[in-house]
């Protein structure tokens, strides 16, 4: 089994734009064969194999399903690490929008305005979509730019998660 490459595992071309339906369909087909539920009465070496293979299949599926994780993984396959933790330098305009979004969040939280948070979330997700499109372009010819796009996408994911948390807190 080709565990070296998640795309090949699911019989998909190694590229950013993938057929998510095919990913889901092939994921389910593989789990239908390797899931621990299929090996309950098998020998313990097979049960262990099954658990490891099903775990890997889940990991691979989540990586390819999630746009940011998929982008990071593609760079990894090219030998480019995105250095999330150490490289936090960002262009000034991106930092500006970050600050504006955070301010909008605080205002909405103060006003307990869930609607405003939902609207902000959708603005941010749209920004994310353009970054994803840019990534697909950059991947082939500019690894450094692609790498920075992944870092930007991670920021977008983080702020989206924070808004989600804020909405659930406000709703409780």
């Amino acid at each position: 089994m080709d565990t070296q490459n998640y795309f090949r595992l699911f019989d998909l071309p190694v590229q950013y734009d993938i057929d998510l339906q095919a990913l889901q369909g092939n994921y389910r087909k593989i789990q239908a064969e390797v899931h621990p539920d299929k090996f309950v009465t098998a020998s313990s070496s097979e049960r262990l194999q099954s658990m490891q293979t099903a775990t890997l299949t889940n990991e691979a599926y989540q990586t390819l399903k999630h746009p940011t994780a998929r982008a990071r993984y593609l760079l990894q396959l090219q030998g480019v690490e995105t250095l999330q933790d150490s490289n936090t330098a960002m262009p000034a305009d991106f930092l500006m929008s970050q600050m504006e979004w955070r301010e909008a969040m605080e205002e909405a939280q103060y006003a307990k305005d869930v609607g405003a948070l939902e609207a902000l979330l959708s603005t941010i997700q749209n920004a994310g979509k353009s970054l994803q499109a840019a990534f697909a372009q950059a991947l082939a010819n500019d690894a450094q730019a692609a790498s920075q796009l992944v870092r930007k996408l991670s920021f977008i994911d983080k702020i989206s998660a924070d808004i989600h948390d804020m909405i659930s807190r406000l709703e409780d």
């Binding site: 369909g25 593989i30 899931h35 621990p36 539920d37 009465t41 989600h164």
Partner: protein, 630 residues
């Protein structure tokens, strides 16, 4: 004599090949056992025709234990030794039980401040695990009588929101009862299986499961036999019992305000009033008011009338409490109300009309109740047990369940670093690298917690792992990769390896709430309170059963794939191991059988890996037009 042998498509016609497997719903209030017979999932009844076994255990003496209806009837007479709702105490410490002042048992704290509580009974100190095992034993006996043979295994259901300690406690109870656990299955998932298969349902379904002591909400996508849990949430200390308790407190208030002198209640009175409260709650499902009348032990009378409106007022905030997890699950699943195809109600407590109304109001659709909310979990568990035991060969059922709570590690300053997020599809593993901070350091400790909060003190301590046997190196030199694996039962295991030397570090687990392996072994042995020779006979029998199970599994695999995947010498090597084990199984040496089983297992590792490879290849090779429309 069987006149006609009917065999289901995909089911074995040979009766000796049909493995007896059951699904068990180990509930807070009632427990059930079900099995698939002639292709139909059915709840098994006791000799009096009862399907529900009240989850009540009375200890008459060390030897004499009563479980079920009789124990329930004697509850008020002997409240201290008659344990109900034991599920609420599984994997819980004394300080976890907030309302213990109102529960008429003699609780004893466990060994450590955080270890599982015990209950002092006439038969001595009993762990919730042992008490639950009595319920399971009764159901096992019922099933074996009804099915006429020994059980191959059981699927036992647990609330989806149960944490690791509660799941482990359930598995330990099964082991004490002599049950082979095929899988711990989440209750809402079990209900979805029963409901989904029955109604050929497709789309997104919500399972709202309010039992006697636990609340679960699960959102699943059902598609062509795949049951994919999108999100789950809940409250493992909220259920029908809490509604009883509200009535009980209200009755006390009423009585106190009417009487000059009100003696404090003794244990019998407490139990009596709680029983009356439960009966009133059930009565109010179909009636406008309930009368609560009883005579207390001091001779005074209680006589109050509870109207539906008052009952709703007393308990409305409990109903509201279920909506917060519901909203969280919807948000985690990233779904809107209008994307939900159906809402299934599960658990006896969902019979209360104001619960139904609240669910209907929230989801803007009438909930589905065409399956008995008391039985649907057991029925689904039986279907899954039948599949897992291998009685159904058509592979059209796949359950993809999730972990309900995030798993994290304690870091500096008592903060939690999340390593596995909630709602991750199981099985899942995450590796984390650690390093030593002192020269020559050979051990380190890792604290694992479950929960969503940022502070360790707000999460649930799961276990402390001690890594020992790290090769001594300079500070920061050792790189220890620790892998946290959650299996399909939702249970955690940890392994560790030093990266530069490849040395496997020894992981010693100190479960925060669970029972240690020695305690379980001790309980197993004392439950047979027999001579040394009996213990040995039992150990031998267990070793032989395990060995036979292993041989059968490997022979089946060899028949399927031996020729294709193994060379002749490789096949011979496995066969030689099988024969060696078979010879030992005729002898008396359980230790030798264990060792030979291990050796056989080891000999098949390559074969297992090749089979898994072949499975993956085969999964995608059979592409056809239909599959492209998935």
């Amino acid at each position: 004599m069987a006149l006609l042998q009917i065999s289901e498509p995909g089911m074995s016609a040979a009766p000796h090949q049909h493995r007896l497997a059951v699904g068990i719903d180990l509930g807070t209030t009632n427990s059930l056992v079900a099995t698939v017979r002639s292709g139909m999932s059915t709840v098994l009844q006791d000799e009096h025709g009862h399907a529900l076994l009240p989850s009540v255990v009375r200890y008459l003496s060390e030897q004499e234990i009563i479980v079920g209806h009789v124990a329930l009837a004697q509850q008020s007479k002997d409240p201290i030794n008659t344990i109900a709702s034991v599920k609420r105490f599984m994997g819980r410490s004394l300080q976890d039980i907030a309302d213990r002042a109102h529960i008429p048992y003699r609780f004893v704290a466990g060994d450590g401040a955080q270890s599982m509580l015990q209950i002092d009974t006439r038969a001595g100190l009993k762990s919730p695990v042992e008490i639950s095992a009595e319920i399971l034993k009764t159901l096992k006996l019922r099933a074996e009588k009804a099915l006429g043979g020994e059980l191959t295994g059981a699927v036992i259901t647990v609330p989806a929101y149960f944490d690791d300690a509660q799941r482990q406690a359930t598995k330990d109870a099964a082991r004490l009862a002599g049950l082979h656990v095929l899988r711990l299955l989440n209750e809402p998932t079990a209900a979805a299986v029963a409901y989904g298969l029955d109604n050929a349902a497709e789309g997104v379904y919500v399972i709202y499961d309010l039992g006697g002591g636990t609340f679960d909400i699960s959102i699943l996508r059902l598609s062509k036999g795949v049951f994919e849990v999108l999100a789950t949430n809940g409250d493992s200390a909220l259920g029908g019992d809490d509604f009883d308790h509200r009535i009980y407190c209200w009755v006390l208030d009423q009585v106190r305000s009417n009487q000059q002198h009100f003696n404090p209640l003794n244990e019998e009175d407490t139990r009596l009033l709680l029983t009356k409260a439960r009966q009133a709650k059930e009565w109010l499902t179909d009636n406008h008011e309930a009368q609560i009348v009883c005579k207390l032990s001091d001779g005074s009378f209680v006589d109050v009338t509870l109207t539906v409106d008052k009952f709703v007022e007393l308990t409305q905030n409990l109903v509201t409490k279920t909506l917060s997890p519901t909203r969280k699950a919807m948000r985690d699943a990233n779904l809107n109300i209008d994307e939900i195809n159906g809402v299934v109600l599960v658990g006896g407590a969902t019979r209360m009309p104001h619960i139904r109304h609240a669910v209907e109001d929230y989801f803007k659709q009438e909930p589905l109740t065409n399956l008995d909310p008391d039985k649907v979990v057991a029925l689904g568990a039986a279907i899954q047990a039948n599949v897992l035991a291998g009685n159904r060969s058509d592979d059209d059922l796949l359950l993809l369940d999730v972990t309900p709570l995030s798993l994290g590690l304690e870091t500096m300053g008592g903060l939690v670093e999340k390593i596995i997020p909630r709602n991750a599809t199981l099985p899942i593993a995450r590796a984390q690298e650690f390093t030593t901070f002192k020269d020559g350091q050979t051990a380190m400790s890792i604290h694992v917690v479950q929960g969503e909060r940022e502070l360790v003190s707000d999460c649930r301590s799961l276990a402390r792992f001690e890594l020992r046997g790290i090769p001594p190196m300079a500070a920061g030199g050792a790189r220890i990769r620790v892998t946290f694996q959650i299996d399909a039962d939702g249970l955690l295991s940890v392994s560790a390896r030093e990266q530069t030397s490849g040395v496997e570090a020894n992981v010693v687990v100190k479960p925060s709430y669970g029972l240690s392996e020695e305690t379980i072994t001790g309980m197993l042995q004392s439950s047979f309170n027999a001579a040394e020779s009996d213990k040995q006979a039992r150990a031998l029998r267990e070793a032989i059963v395990d060995a036979e199970r292993l041989i059968e599994a490997i022979q089946m695999a060899l028949t399927q794939d031996g020729e294709q995947l193994l060379s002749a010498p490789e096949q011979q090597a496995i066969q030689a191991n099988i024969q060696a084990l078979q010879v030992l199984c005729k002898g008396q040496d359980s230790q030798a059988i264990h060792q030979a089983s291990e050796a056989l297992n080891h000999a098949t590792e390559t074969f297992a890996a090749r089979r898994m490879d072949a499975s993956v290849k085969q999964a995608l090779a059979g592409q056809d037009l239909n599959s492209l429309e998935l």
